[in-house]
């Protein structure tokens, strides 16, 4: 007993003796010294969803390199501290604590999975360090506090976008859903798609779930095939989605497939091939969009990392740019001012659209519906759907999203209409 007790005492005292720091005072004042601005990035770099974390890291890296090459922000260069959380919420909380307390970062970018962001966000909120999540779509994430914001859609908006599109443009009466059981993103989209689709008079005839590790999806698809839905909604990520599409076509299921921004990746075409015909997704942007800022981003990203960026990389890029812009406007990294500056972001021209943060620090931006064109490995623009309360371009003359979408869908299936930039001009 005594020995065990003494051993514990010894070990803790050793740990304690090297770990001591002076407490008290303003914790944030220590960080802002020197001529660099430290920004923390955390994500899953080695776990089950490591492709998400690596895309995010690359997107942020590209943005920061560009900013530093242009002379930095307010004359200061940005340095990144990247940490891996293995996709585990517990680890996400530990690494954000490390970034804030040990590395003294002045802002944090991350995570992708909402569950990891939800675990980590309270640490940033308590420490009064602004955190921008590039791609956590669950509404709860920013409800943690005023230091937490995001640059992506929230689930209720994106889920209802596709439901409206299915009901109004595709005239679908019945739909089936195949969702990812472990992903909060998928769960959110499923919920709000169901809600909106039912409201529009449609019926969900089958709902199946898969795990990202499933070796095939034919079992779920065969189960759906019986109910013969008009459309299948697949809120998931490209790795699984492409295979689901492929196997659905193999099973003779040729109805339209619908999805979200998680589909967007250069790998999608290679994985899915021709099976992706007759599929539509909602997205922030399209890599084929000819707008110069988007094309520059795609070109630079490809040059640096050797692959075409996916939507997670684009969102991470935007998150870093929004942060840099806010630091510039705040005139420094004082956390309260920086938070205010981030939250007042308005009409920021990002590659994923014009970003305006609303009162709940969610990005408000229109979604584009894209039709997949596998033979050319690109997306064709279909229509733009606006969030409630956001004014669509004046040319349509209507705040009603449905009438707007109908108008667009008749006119715009042909070429890559310059969707994002045209909105941008209109909202100015």
């Amino acid at each position: 007993m005594t020995r065990i007790f003494l051993a514990i005492c010894l070990i803790t005292s050793v740990f304690f003796s090297f770990a001591c720091v002076q407490k008290g005072g303003d914790a944030n004042s220590t960080g802002a010294t020197g001529d660099t601005i430290k920004v923390g990035v955390y994500g899953d770099l080695t776990g089950q969803t490591s492709s998400f974390g690596q895309s995010t890291k690359n997107g942020v890296q590209l943005a920061v390199d560009e900013i530093n090459a242009a002379g930095g922000v307010n004359g200061k260069k940005i340095t990144l501290v990247v940490e891996d959380d293995q996709g585990r919420p517990e680890q996400a909380k530990t690494v954000i604590s490390k970034l804030i307390n040990q590395d003294k970062v002045q802002a944090v970018l991350g995570e992708v999975a909402s569950s990891n962001s939800l675990a980590a966000a309270p640490v940033a909120q308590e420490a009064h360090i602004p955190m921008i999540t590039p791609s956590s779509t669950n509404p709860k994430v920013t409800e943690v506090g005023d230091y937490i914001s995001r640059v992506c859609f929230i689930d209720p908006f994106q889920g209802s976008v596709m439901a409206k599109f299915a009901a109004n443009t595709l005239k679908a009466k019945t739909a089936a859903i195949i969702g990812d059981v472990q992903s909060d993103y998928s769960k959110g989209l499923t919920e709000f798609f169901t809600q909106e689709f039912t409201k529009q008079g449609g019926k969900i005839v089958a709902e199946q779930k898969y795990a990202q590790t499933d070796p095939d999806f034919k079992a779920q698809l065969t189960a759906i095939r019986n109910s013969n839905p008009d459309v299948i909604y697949i809120p998931g990520y490209y790795g699984q989605v492409a295979i689901i599409a492929k196997q659905a076509r193999e099973l003779g299921m040729n109805m339209p497939l619908l999805g979200g921004d998680g589909w967007d990746s250069p790998e999608l075409w290679k994985l899915g091939g021709d099976a992706l015909k007759n599929a539509y997704i909602s997205n922030h942007y399209s890599a084929e969009n000819p707008a110069p800022e988007i094309q520059n981003f795609v070109k630079n990203y490809q040059a640096k990392f050797g692959v075409v960026p996916d939507s997670l990389a684009a969102l991470a890029y935007d998150a870093a740019k929004v942060l840099a812009d806010a630091i510039k406007r705040a005139g420094g990294t004082d956390s309260a001012k920086l938070k205010e500056a981030i939250n007042q972001t308005k009409d920021f021209a990002g590659v994923t659209g014009r970003i305006t943060l609303d009162g709940s620090r969610n990005a408000v931006k229109p979604a584009v519906v894209l039709e997949l064109n596998p033979s050319a490995s690109k997306f064709n623009y279909k229509e733009t759907i606006y969030p409630e309360g956001m004014t669509p371009p004046a040319t349509t003359g209507s705040t009603n999203t449905n009438s707007n979408s109908n108008m667009n869908s008749t006119a715009a299936t042909n070429t890559n209409t310059n969707a994002v930039t045209s909105n941008a001009n209109a909202t100015k």
Binding site: D44, L45, T46, G47, Q48, T49, S50, S51, F52, G53, Q54, S55, V181, Q208, K209, Y210, A211, T213, D214, P215, D216, K218, A219, Q220, T222, A223, R225, N226, Y238, G239, A242, I243, K246, Q247, E250, L251, G252, E267, K270, L271, V307
Partner: protein, 305 residues
């Protein structure tokens, strides 16, 4: 009826893959009493080896039967070499120690392979080139079978027959059976046990790699962590059939595969949602072990007092 047949085909396809991997588990366990947790990762390594071969030798651009065979055999050889290296450098030094030590070494090896591949290839899923044309054949009604599924059945059966021949008709197979019966006695009989064990690892790894390449033809997406769950289920299949028993591993694999798809297809009518897919394999295993502790085809070893 078409739906049921369809689900059965789907299930047996997956089951054949599980069976191929389970064979490696069962052989290694039969000889060393070691749960080789890294075996699932060898399946992943096999798929990556096939990917590198197919893209670097140009089979991805000009798919052909020849290209597929070269890729398949090449990746089996590479995986066999890696399997032997793992045995030589990680497992042999700890072989004589307690079960826990060897188990932790195996877990460590599994983590090492996974993280090394994440580091080298990144976590992004890679598209595996289609080496053979994939077409659908309508059986009857709505039930279809694709050529890649047929390929899985044919190659698995061929490999299993080959394995059976190696084990029962060749000298090395006889030595393997002797070592698995009693390692020390086999050594006394003049069998080079180290060689036999290395050969077993090579054989098991080659089968897992074949499983990896076949899966990649059917489901053309490979990623560094693809072997964890599949490997675990294959291990469950091996235990289910009676670990150390070769036909048992095949039976176990097919059973787990079929059970999984049937749960997804019909579970909802009996109150089991499709999300319980991964739990089903374990539930079946537990039930079987409680009734027949040695597995379906395993022989009950009476403990001597």
């Amino acid at each position: 009826m078409d739906t049921f047949v369809q689900q059965l085909i789907n299930g047996l396809t997956i089951g054949s893959i599980y069976a191929l991997i389970a064979l490696g588990y069962t052989m290694v366990y039969g000889i060393l009493r070691l749960i080789n947790f890294a075996h699932g990762d060898i399946y992943m390594v096999g798929a990556y080896a096939g990917f590198i071969l197919a893209t670097s030798l140009g089979f991805a651009q000009n798919p052909s039967v020849f290209g597929f065979i070269v890729t398949l055999i090449g990746s089996m050889v590479i995986a066999a070499a890696i399997g032997m290296a793992i045995e030589r450098f990680a497992y042999r030094p700890v072989r004589r120690y307690s079960k826990m030590t060897t188990l932790i070494t195996a877990i460590g090896m599994s983590l090492l392979i996974e993280y090394l591949f994440v580091f080298i290839f990144g976590g992004t899923p890679k598209p595996f080139p289609q080496l053979l044309p994939n077409e659908n054949i309508r059986l009857f009604g709505e039930a279809t079978i694709s050529t890649s599924q047929i390929l899985i059945f044919v190659v698995s059966i061929l490999l299993m027959v080959l394995l059976q021949w190696i084990i029962y008709k060749t000298k090395i197979g006889k030595a393997m059976r002797a070592v698995s019966f009693n390692l020390n006695s086999a050594k006394l009989m003049g069998i080079n046990t180290d060689f036999v064990i290395a050969f077993t690892f090579a054989l098991g790894s080659a089968l897992a790699a074949a499983g990896g390449v076949l899966t990649a033809q059917y489901n053309p997406k490979i990623e560094p962590l693809m072997g964890i769950i599949t490997g675990l289920k294959a291990f469950v299949a091996a235990v289910l059939g009676g670990i150390g028993n070769i036909p048992g591993a095949v039976l176990g694999g097919l059973l787990i595969g079929a059970a999984e798809t049937l749960v997804v297809g019909y579970g909802q009518y009996v109150g089991i949602p499709s999300t319980y897919r991964d739990a089903v394999a374990f539930a079946i295993l537990i039930l079987v072990l409680l009734i027949r502790p040695a597995g379906l085809l395993g022989s009950n070893v009476q403990e001597k007092v």
